[in-house]
């Protein structure tokens, strides 16, 4: 299992489109990926509505967990994805 943390920089937080992009990106990997805001309940990162319901705002910390065969690659690429999109 791999975990990464990221503090949201985007002034809008995770609004609808970034939530969609995040879910799409997560869908590329075989491993289970969950995302939580700070110590809140984790949701499946591959599901846009769940990610939207996090209502994550700028300055909040995202905790992502990767569990499965390609977890190393997924975690590494997600670090980049978060930096670029959020």
């Amino acid at each position: 299992m791999k975990t990464i943390q990221y503090t949201i920089q985007d002034p809008m937080g995770i609004h609808a489109r970034p939530a969609g992009l995040l879910a799409k990106e997560a869908g590329k990997y075989a491993c289970n990926i969950s995302v939580a805001v700070e110590d809140g309940t984790p949701v499946d990162a591959k599901r846009i509505m769940g990610v939207m319901r996090l209502a994550a705002k700028q300055g909040m910390q995202l905790n992502m967990t990767f569990d499965g065969a390609d977890e190393e690659v997924a975690a590494a690429e997600f670090e980049e994805f978060l930096k670029e999109n959020l």
Binding site: M12, A16, G20, I48, M49, M52, R53, A55
Partner: protein, 537 residues
């Protein structure tokens, strides 16, 4: 006959067949008895919905721009949401039809968004519902796209932006909606199209009204469903009179606006988006006196880029083909809030962080807009005016800012033209110091709505205060007189772009005061021109 009231958004009479725009038309199909078949139907409906949304995305992008279209892209992504899909599949396995399951789960999900604390996410519940209704409609065999083949009066509980954009506008005589405000998408569209319409209407929406005759009276703010012969005859007469009046106004089309004593007035139009230029030309306005640029910032999730703004402004300039265009810079804040600006809630938004105050404090917002305005000026006449000015210092700061923009563009070898810089006079302070302001700018445009509310200390959003909101108050008229006198004393022109600009009971008074320009809803131009041409002033 059923009779009821609503808030009128455009004066006029429409008589036609009622067309019930229902998001869920009638009964949903029942379970066919085969789970596999229903599951397959659900999958193929998602595919059809995706194709519809993609087409609609392209259409919207062309008509309203990419930012409006993004809503549809998000809906496309929602079609693939596993939470939604699995919940629907589960219901189908329990013996529900695909249509009923798609609808029920959509309602649950949209309610979850509606219950959230976050304004932005709450607003997304409409998107979830929009997406689910589309699937339900496909599965019920009723096409989600409207099939209106003859002129109708459109009745709806409310219309979402995605519904509004796909309406066959040529066949709509009037809108009647139960929800919506006078600032809703539908109301703005109705005013631009000059069709009598009601929002906040108290009207029963069930299948029995479909196809019945309905009369919408946009003068009185009421409707008559299934009217008795007497009412019908009376309203046909009223419609005829209104049409004849409009017909008489046609002789003023293309005529110069000059009073009998030779006073010339420019009659301009107020618009919100590039699409509205069609109505400017149809209404025979002589230019655009107020382009409310904030509409390009609404209904989207992030700031428009300089390029998007530039393209919108250039499109207006090119369509106007040499006619003047006055763009008011961003007037966000107060009653027009946008989530991505991250504005904090305020005790007194009307007296708060809005208009030029935001632009001066956050140049990163102001810069792309001013650059876009200057760049558009290379294609035809463009003026810029600044809202909510209350001091000379603010004007000096804005002028300095514009100078920097010109220097930047020159350094980058980007072409731009002469942009006249004016201010909105809408605070009593600006009116009182208008002589000093006039020394610094090229023109004034009076925003009578705000000037009235600030002068009388009456909140115009508060319906209880309607009787105290005397738009013809002597204090307001005295300020209007003073503003134009001060403008002329310093050799600049002055106009009016608030609601009073179209108030025909004051047109002669404005002429007497010496106003050089009146800007109004495009549909009012011919009527005001008639008054000026007939005036002895």
């Amino acid at each position: 006959m059923i009779q009821g009231k609503g808030t009128a958004v455009f004066a006029g009479i429409a008589i036609g067949k009622a067309f019930l725009f229902s998001h869920s038309a009638g009964e949903l199909p029942v379970f066919c008895g085969d789970v596999q078949k229903e599951l397959q139907a659900f999958d193929s409906a998602r595919e059809t919905a995706r194709q519809q949304l993609q087409l609609l995305f392209e259409k919207t992008k062309q008509e309203l721009g990419e930012e409006q279209a993004m809503i549809l892209d998000v809906q496309c992504m929602m079609l693939d949401d596993l939470d939604y899909i699995e919940a629907v599949q589960q219901q189908i396995q329990q013996g529900r039809s695909a249509a009923a399951a798609a609808d029920a789960v959509g309602t649950v999900f949209s309610q979850q968004f509606a219950d959230m604390d976050d304004d932005y996410m709450r607003a997304r519940s409409v998107d979830v519902r929009d997406m689910a209704k589309r699937l339900t409609a496909i599965l019920s065999g009723t096409n989600a796209e409207l099939e209106i083949t003859e002129p109708v009066v459109l009745l709806a509980d409310d219309l979402s932006p995605s519904e509004t954009v796909q309406l066959p506008k040529d066949n709509i005589l009037a809108f009647v909606t139960c929800q919506g405000s006078t600032n809703s998408h539908t109301a703005i569209l109705a005013r631009m199209m000059s069709i009598p319409s009601l929002v906040q209407a108290q009207i029963p929406l069930n299948s029995t009204v479909q196809g019945k005759t309905i009369i919408v009276d946009g003068f009185e703010g009421c409707y008559y469903l299934d009217p008795d012969p007497d009412t019908l005859a009376k309203m046909q007469e009223k419609q005829k009179t209104a049409q004849q009046k409009q017909q008489l106004l046609e002789q003023y089309r293309g005529k110069p606006t000059i009073s009998k004593s030779g006073k010339k007035v420019k009659l301009f139009a107020n618009i919100g988006s590039p699409d509205d230029v069609a109505y400017v030309l149809k209404g025979d306005a002589e230019g655009v006196g107020l382009m409310r640029s904030e509409f390009l910032y609404l209904g989207r999730e992030d700031f428009p880029t300089e390029q998007e703004l530039f393209e919108a402004y250039r499109s207006v300039v090119e369509q106007l083909d040499g006619k003047e265009l006055v763009i008011r810079t961003l007037d966000i804040g107060a009653d027009k809030k946008v989530d991505y600006f991250g504005l904090e809630p305020e005790e007194n938004p009307a007296l708060g962080y809005r208009g030029i105050r935001i632009c001066l404090k956050q140049p990163e917002i102001f810069r792309p807009q001013m650059r876009a305005i200057y760049r558009a000026s290379a294609y035809g006449p463009v003026s810029a005016m600044f809202p909510m000015i209350a001091s000379v210092q603010e004007v000096l700061a804005v002028k300095e800012f514009c100078k920097t923009i010109r220097e930047e563009l020159t350094a980058e070898a980007i072409p731009f033209g002469e942009v006249a810089l004016g201010v909105m006079i809408e605070t009593p302070a600006a009116a009182v110091i208008s002589r000093e302001l006039a020394k610094e700018v090229d023109f004034f445009s009076v925003g009578t709505n705000d000037l009235t509310q600030y002068t009388l200390a009456v909140d115009r959003q508060n319906e209880k205060l309607a009787e105290f909101c005397d738009t013809h108050h002597p204090a307001v008229l005295a300020l209007l007189k003073m503003i134009v006198e001060n403008a002329h004393a310093e050799g600049i022109w002055a106009g009016i772009c608030g609601e009073l600009g179209a108030d025909t009971t004051l047109t002669e008074e404005f002429l007497k005061m010496g106003y050089d320009e009146l800007s109004m809803s495009p549909a009012k131009v011919l009527e005001v021109r008639r008054i000026i041409c007939e005036s002895e002033e």
